[in-house]
Every structure is written in C-alpha cells, then in structure tokens.
C-alpha cells in the first residue's frame, strides 16, 4: 500500500522497511526452497541425498543423475516431442488467433457479434465434458489414419501429433486476446490501403499484424507454456512410447523409479528449464499477459 512517510519519524520508517525486507525474504525463500532443494539434490551423490539430518551442500558436485535420467528414459526424444508440439501450438494459435481476432475487430460482417459471443460463451464449458467425445471425433475423422469416408476402419488421428495440434490450433482465448489488441489500433490505415488497392489479406498481414508484436509475444509465451506443460490430453491420445511428451515421461519415470530421487529431480528440472529460459528472456511479456487476463474480468 502506498503511504506517505513524511509525517513519520525516520526510525519508524527504517523499522517498517526492515520488517518488510524480513517478511518478504522469508516468504520468497519458502516459495523458492523446493527449487533450490531439487537443484541441490540433482547434483548430490546418492549417499548424501539420503542423509539425516539434511545435508544441504554436497561434498562434490556430480552430473551422474542427469546422465542416469537420460539413459534410462529417452528424455531427449520426449523433450523434442514436447518442443515440437508446443511450437506448433504457438504457430497455429498466433496465425489463426490473429486472423480471427482481426476479422472480429476490424471487418464488418453481419454475424460478427453473435459468432464472437458464442465463442466466448463456449469458453465456460469445462474441458472434462469434451474430453471423451473429442477422442471419439479424432478416432473417426473420415479419410484419415486408415479411415474410410464413414470414419471407421482405422484409428483416425489418434496416436499422432495432430490429435494434439488440431484441437488446440485456434483457441478461443487466442482469438479473444488478439481481437482486444486489434481494437486498440486505428482503422484509417485500412481505408488508406484499400484506396491504394491492397487486398484484405495483405492489409492484415503487412500493415496490421506487424503492429501486434507485443501481443503476439505475450500470446506466444502463454501458448508455449500451456503446450509444454499439458499432461492429461497427450496421455489420452498418444499411445506410442516414441511419441510421449516430456511430462508423460517424467510422470512415468517418477512412478517406475520411486526411490531414484536424484535422476527424478534431474528430470523434473529438465522439464522446467525451457519455460524458465523463456521467462528470463521475455519477463515483461509474462507480466503484461497476466495483467491483461486480470483486466478482462
């Protein structure tokens, strides 16, 4: 809370500031401790992991848990799968989301408002309701994955990455998010370009889209994070072990090697690191994005 300290004596100000730093440090330490603990664990030799009382710093640092994790489970492969899926999610959502968002914000057509309202209202439907029938739909898409025109005969898109990419390719949130951003841009550039004979798609792609870079960055980060971290849906549609994602691999590892805490922590950290790097590089877009989701309410 903002307050004017001018009326307070100096010692009171110092006291308040000290109290703030003490409490903030304790709270932040508590929140950060599980990370620190898992990093230290992943670098300790086994006998020091299982020590009582806690042995905080290892006598020697070792990377053996990382190589163990990567040797028992094809983590690298899982890492690549997750990366591919997350990137595809970002690309499709940025493109279809801004295309749709632009149309709803800038182009006049009769059903613009009602369609947009339906999309928004549908965001309220909990994911658990569509989980089973989406599986059915993917399995029975006609002409795909060995299916005939009636959608039977094969497995459709199940067990392929498309089963994850397609259902999430144009999230309503992406459309909504981009629409809000396009609404803040002036429309006169559009008129000018039309007079000069530019097509609607070119106006979108070459004039408006470049202006939305900050919004695209924010949306891209969130889509990447959601794709990278998703667990239940990939577990449902991907059976082939070679197609598993990093989250599935990590869960399977922690389930199958319940006492190998060193490699387990190494695996968990590997699953966290890409998002962490993204965060460090693009911190301001993260905060903008959450602030936006707070404003929309």
């Amino acid at each position: 809370m903002k307050s004017t300290y001018s009326s307070n004596p100096a010692y009171l100000r110092a006291l308040r500031s000290t109290v703030f730093y003490v409490i903030a440090t304790i709270v932040s330490l508590v929140m950060f401790m599980p990370f620190l603990w898992s990093v230290l664990t992943s670098l300790k030799p086994d006998d020091e992991i299982f020590a009582f009382p806690i042995r905080w710093l290892p006598s020697r640092f070792t990377l053996e848990h990382y190589s163990d994790a990567f040797n028992t489970v094809p983590f690298l492969r899982y890492f690549g799968n997750s990366f591919y899926l997350a990137i595809m999610g970002v690309l499709t959502n940025l493109f279809f989301g801004s295309l749709g968002g632009y149309a709803f914000a800038k182009l006049n057509f009769k059903l613009s408002k009602p369609i947009f309202r339906i999309l928004l209202a549908a965001m309220m439907i909990p994911g658990v309701v569509t989980m089973i029938p989406s599986f059915y739909v993917l399995m029975h898409l006609p002409f795909l994955g060995g299916n005939d025109w009636t959608g039977s005969g094969g497995n459709g898109l199940l067990n392929s990455f498309w089963a994850i990419i397609l259902p999430g390719a144009s999230g309503t949130f992406a459309v909504f998010f981009m629409r809000q951003f396009f609404l803040t841009l002036p429309s006169d550039m559009m008129e000018m370009a039309r007079i000069e004979g530019a097509g609607e798609f070119r106006i979108f792609l070459q004039i408006y889209l470049p202006l939305t870079k900050p919004a695209l960055a924010t949306l891209g980060i969130f889509t990447f994070q959601a794709g990278w971290n998703s667990f239940l849906w990939p577990m449902i549609v991907l059976n082939d072990p070679l197609k598993h994602t990093i989250q599935m691999g990590l869960q399977a590892f922690s389930y199958n090697h319940q006492t190998d805490f060193g490699p387990m922590m190494a695996g968990a950290l590997v699953a966290i690191v890409p998002i962490l790097i993204l965060f460090i590089l693009l911190q301001r877009y993260f905060v903008q994005g959450i602030a936006f989701s707070g404003v929309k309410g």
Partner: protein
C-alpha cells in the same frame, strides 16, 4: 453502389478469415458437447457397442459410492484451497505492492512456481514430502517435530495436494492482484487518512471493495480449476491412499480410457460440469451479496 460492393467484399473476407477458427470450433467443441450428451445415454465402449440405454448410466452413478467419494474429496479440496488461494495471493500481493529496492526479485521468486508444469511440481514435491529424507520433515526435525508420512496417510494426503497446488497458484494470482491494486485510485487512501482511518480500516473499506472484480476473477478461475483437479493428484498419490485423493476427473479418466466405459464416464462428466456450474453460480451470488453490504 461501390460502397455496398466494397462492404460485401469485406464481409466475405471476414467470414473467410474466421473459417479456420469456426471449423475447428465446430469439430472440437460443438460436436463433442452434443456427443457427450448423447454418449451419456449409451453404453459406448470404443470397441463394439454404442446402444441407447436411456437413463441407466445416471441411475448407476447415483448408487456409485466411489464416484461420490471422489466428489467429497474434490469438494473438500475446493472449500479449503480456494479461500486459502485468495488469502495467500492477496497477502503476498499486498506485501510486494511497493516501490522498495529489490521488490522485483521478491516478485520473481514468488512467481517462479507458476511456471512449472503440474507434473514437474508434483515430482519435486514427491521428494520434498519424503517422510525420512524430505525437506519438509527435515526442516520440522530442527524443531524436534517428527513429520508425518505426508503422501501415504489418508489424513495428510489431501493436505499435501493442497500445499503443492497452492505453491503453484500463488504466483499468477499475486500478479493479478498486483494489477488490481495498481488500479485503486490513490486519492481514496489519501482522503481516508485525512479522516483518520487506520491500515486495517483502509483495507476493509477501500482495498477489499475496490478489488472485488479481481477477487471474483481469481475465485472463479480457481473454483473451475479446483473442481477439475487431476495432474497433481495423479502424480503425487495416484489417487491414494484408499482413494483419499481420487478426484472426479481422475475417475472419469479411468472409467473412460482404462476401462473403456465411455458412455458411463460421459454421464459422470456431466454431473461434474453441473457441480462446476453450481459452484460458479454460488460464487457469483456471494460476490454480488458482498456488494450490498459494503
């Protein structure tokens, strides 16, 4: 004449631009919702059957003790988690809503847990909560306390799930609350101070009412998320011990995709959706009711 032609062209392009979104929406939202409703009246099992069984599934679930236990579990979780989430996020936001040196570092440290996936967070906490060598019990032992076997006792298993999910939820809600706090006009505090209001009164009569939209957003999102709890319960405890942390989504996943009783699982999904709707409405009523008091 030219104008209307231009508008017609613009409209066509508008429809063209939203076509991919609408197609995907139709295939992966509209059709599934309609189908989910239909499936819940069938005995669909992926392999062979999809016969109409009327209300059989719904009759069956009324007598399904396990289903109701999962509902009790997740209601217990929600009732504890959601208020705690609001309270802790708001407290941290209030603490860090100042311009002191180093405040950004504190915010970042509190935000980091939200970046982790549910699976990675739960994996880290599997080790933090280890009964003998874990961080938490090791810490408690400094004070001479012997901590419980957090994840393998039915009394503490749900507490553990609450801890982990709270750890992950505080960061983003803190940022939402910080944005909300920044939107409270300064003059309100200034004039309250002139009237001699103390810090508690200023919070009670200015901050809290001004943050109502923010609290409504945070509570709505965390209710919807809490009732669909799955990832953490799956990784931390596999729903155990003795189903103490099994949630409806967990059960629906098992029924639908392990036992392939997709018709029955669909009816359970509808009951859960109904529960989510009811809780969201109650939440809406509560935040409206508060409005009239203040």
């Amino acid at each position: 004449m030219l104008r209307s032609k231009l508008n017609g062209h613009q409209a066509r392009m508008g429809y063209l631009f939203i076509t991919p979104t609408i197609l995907l929406f139709a295939v992966f939202t509209v059709i599934p919702v309609v189908m989910a409703f239909y499936l819940s009246f069938t005995n669909y099992d992926v392999l062979s059957r999809m016969d109409w069984v009327g209300l059989d599934n719904y009759r069956k679930l009324i007598a399904d003790d396990l289903l109701w236990q999962t509902f009790r579990n997740v209601l217990y979780y929600t009732v504890i988690f959601v208020p705690l989430n609001i309270l802790t996020s708001l407290l941290v936001a209030l603490l860090l809503n100042r311009a002191s040196k180093g405040v950004k570092v504190f915010r970042t440290l509190n935000y980091l847990p939200t970046l982790t996936s549910a699976v990675a967070a739960a994996t880290v906490w599997l080790w933090v909560l280890h009964p003998e060598f874990g961080l938490l019990n090791g810490f408690l032992s400094y004070f001479g306390i012997t901590g419980p076997a957090w994840l393998s006792q039915s009394g503490t298993a749900m507490t553990s799930v609450i801890m982990v999910t709270l750890w992950q939820a505080i960061g983003s809600n803190m940022v939402i609350y910080l944005a909300g706090l920044q939107g409270v006009p300064d003059y309100l505090y200034e004039s309250a101070k002139l009237d001699g209001a103390n810090a508690v009164q200023r919070f009670r009569f200015i901050t809290w009412p001004q943050l109502r939209p923010t609290t409504f957003l945070v509570s709505t999102m965390s209710i919807i998320g809490a009732l669909q709890l799955f990832d953490q319960a799956f990784v931390l405890t596999q729903g155990g011990p003795a189903n103490a942390t099994k949630t409806p989504v967990y059960l629906i996943y098992q029924q639908g995709f392990n036992q392939l009783q997709m018709g029955y699982a669909s009816s359970q999904a509808f009951v859960l959706a109904l529960a989510i709707l009811i809780f969201s409405l109650i939440n809406m009523k509560l935040s409206k009711a508060e409005e009239s008091i203040v």
